[in-house]
């Protein structure tokens, strides 16, 4: 069972990759360094990586991660310590990059009903979000089919290695 527990950080619709990971940091290749600038393009969140605690949960509106193809966006959020991202919808490449990295992303409309800083418990296998601050529960999507297999393997490369071993 995959359960995440942490504080909610809420963001708007259409948060693009330049806000998640500003273009000026594209030359970075060290993942820890990339984590230090996560979300720093969003006004008021320039110091997000210092304020976020390990395991915290990122909530967003629709089309999260739109814009560039940079996988840095997923890596930065992951290395900032965010345990899972829940959005109304994800931009295609961000979604694909997250699956390929085995990083958990879930879709839910609950984002509108959860408060900033609420304590959340997310059961990714069951597709359930519990707001421990308000006592409310909300459904969320779970991965299925090939995406679930890739994610369970820990990402695309571990998945391919397993397939190659199987022959």
């Amino acid at each position: 069972m995959t359960v995440f527990k942490g504080r909610a950080w809420k963001f708007d619709d259409n948060i693009d990759t330049d806000q998640i990971y500003p273009g000026k940091y594209l030359p970075l290749t060290d993942k820890e360094e990339m984590g230090k600038v996560a979300m720093s393009g969003v006004e008021g969140f320039e110091d997000f990586s210092q304020r976020v605690s390990k395991g915290d949960i990122l909530l967003a509106g629709g089309n999260f991660g739109c814009g560039s193809s940079r996988e840095h966006a997923v890596v930065a959020i992951q290395y900032a310590g965010v345990s899972v991202v829940i959005a109304k919808s994800f931009a295609r490449i961000f979604y694909r990059n997250a699956v390929n990295l085995g990083y958990p992303i879930l879709e839910s409309e609950a984002v509108d009903h959860i408060g900033q800083n609420d304590e959340l418990e997310v059961d990714a296998d069951a597709g359930l979000i519990r707001d421990l601050t308000t006592g409310e529960e909300f459904p969320c999507t779970t991965l299925s089919g090939l995406e679930l297999e890739i994610s369970k393997a820990g990402g695309l490369i571990p998945y391919l290695n397993k397939e190659l071993e199987k022959g």
Binding site: P27, T29, G67, S68, I157
Partner: protein, 417 residues
């Protein structure tokens, strides 16, 4: 059940007779491209995961440099060196700092064919749908997997059909059409979906106009945009690739989820106001808005046809005092042609800065970052907050509207110049 062109491409690439919407399939990759951004991460991950294992088929991989060129600092220079060393070791072709925007470079060098499956670490890979390729942006991990195995997984998308009729007004063109469509469809209107464009207006378009149109499918969240070949694209591709070029068509009963129709005859020049590419209005609604900087270039509007449109307005004129007009050809070949035609003289005499071929302002490359509060007109494709510098405002438009606005230092209707 018939198939769309996009389904036919996936069927071929996955070794199936037929494929249906929603199928998840492993497809053979014809070309996997990385850039000076993203590329270094690809190489480091590839080495970490596969060590010295040779790239499966180096001829189906390419490295293009288009972002920070020539290198602006040590980190960038080191990244570029890392990629050059990798190309030397693996035999992967590399197009160095002088060549220009990646997709355009691949196209000019005959590495792109209709019905190929092409991926790259660039969200605007979609623009290669202009010549009928199945091309889409991916991240680092997909590139690593494609280099190691030659395959990637795709879900067969639902496909929309957009039919375009009518003849453009003078000084109105592909960029105005696609901004008009973007306003209608919205920035998430094609999420996880594909679109095929057709109709007399599209048939009449040259390769450059088709590139402009397809590049903005990315801004609708589209997975794939695609246009059937016409005589102009077949002629272009035959020359670039050595031919022969096949022609495929969608089946008459192909399952499109939706058809939309547009007529360009009445479309005035379009402008996307800050801070979203679908925040589109007629240029008439913004006349007089003060502009500090104008950019003509990018993967969307950096062809010689785009430079000609700007030059036609700038010829014999001077930009507004204080205006910073930056013009960037997409590739070295575009630059050579622009020089031959005398466009560089027109630009420089008008007071413009003509830069080396590259992505220039996009992704805060260089040069031309905005100061806080600066306003720019750009022929690029995105106007998200911070895209060309924190606190800057970006209006998206055609090369003609950009050039006209540069002359007056304010948003100007190119039909009135």
């Amino acid at each position: 059940m018939g198939m769309t062109i996009i389904q036919k491409i996936i069927a071929k690439a996955s070794g199936n007779e037929e494929v249906a919407v929603g199928d998840k399939l492993w497809c053979a990759i014809d070309l996997a491209a990385m850039r000076d951004f993203g590329g270094p991460n690809v190489v480091l991950d590839y080495r970490e995961m596969f060590g010295d294992q040779p790239v499966k088929d180096p001829e189906k991989v390419a490295i293009t440099f288009d972002l920070h060129l020539p290198a602006r600092d040590t980190q960038v220079a080191n990244n570029q060196k890392l990629l050059r060393d990798f190309a030397d070791q693996t035999g992967v072709p590399l197009f160095d700092v002088e060549t220009g925007v990646g997709q355009h470079t691949l196209l000019e060098n005959g590495m792109v064919r209709p019905y190929d499956v092409i991926v790259g670490t660039d969200s605007h890979m979609n623009l290669l749908g202009a010549v009928g390729s199945f091309a889409t942006g991916v991240g680092t991990t997909d590139l690593v997997a494609a280099m190691a195995t030659g395959k990637l997984w795709f879900k067969v998308p639902e496909t929309h059909k957009f039919v375009v009729n009518g003849t453009f007004q003078d000084q109105v063109g592909a960029k105005d059409l696609i901004l008009h469509v973007l306003k209608d469809v919205g920035t998430d209107g094609l999420l996880y979906k594909a679109v095929e464009f057709e109709g007399p207006t599209i048939d009449a378009m040259d390769v450059a106009a088709r590139i402009t149109t397809m590049s903005m499918v990315t801004e609708m969240s589209g997975k794939i945009g695609l246009i059937e070949s016409n005589d102009k694209t077949i002629e272009y591709l035959t020359e670039a690739t050595g031919g022969p070029i096949e022609e495929w068509h969608a089946d008459p009963d192909a399952p499109y989820v939706e058809e939309r129709r547009y007529d360009v005859a009445d479309i005035p020049p379009q402008v996307a106001a800050p801070h979203s590419p679908d925040n589109v209005v007629s240029v008439e609604d913004l006349l007089g808005t003060h502009i500090d900087q104008v950019f003509v270039g990018s993967c969307t509007n950096g062809r010689v046809e785009d430079l000609r449109a700007a030059a036609a307005i700038l010829e014999g004129e001077q930009v507004d005092p204080g205006m910073r007009l930056i013009i960037t050809p997409a590739t070295q070949n575009v630059a050579k042609e622009a020089v031959r035609e005398g466009l560089y003289n027109i630009f420089i005499e008008a007071g413009a800065i003509v830069t080396n071929p590259s992505c220039a302002l996009c992704t805060i490359g260089h040069p031309g970052v905005l100061a806080e509060g600066d306003v720019t007109m750009s022929t690029s494709n995105r106007n998200f907050p911070g895209k060309i510098g924190k606190g800057g405002e970006i209006y998206l438009c055609s090369p003609a509207t950009a050039a006209a606005s540069a002359l007056y230092g304010q948003i100007t209707d190119p039909r009135e110049v």
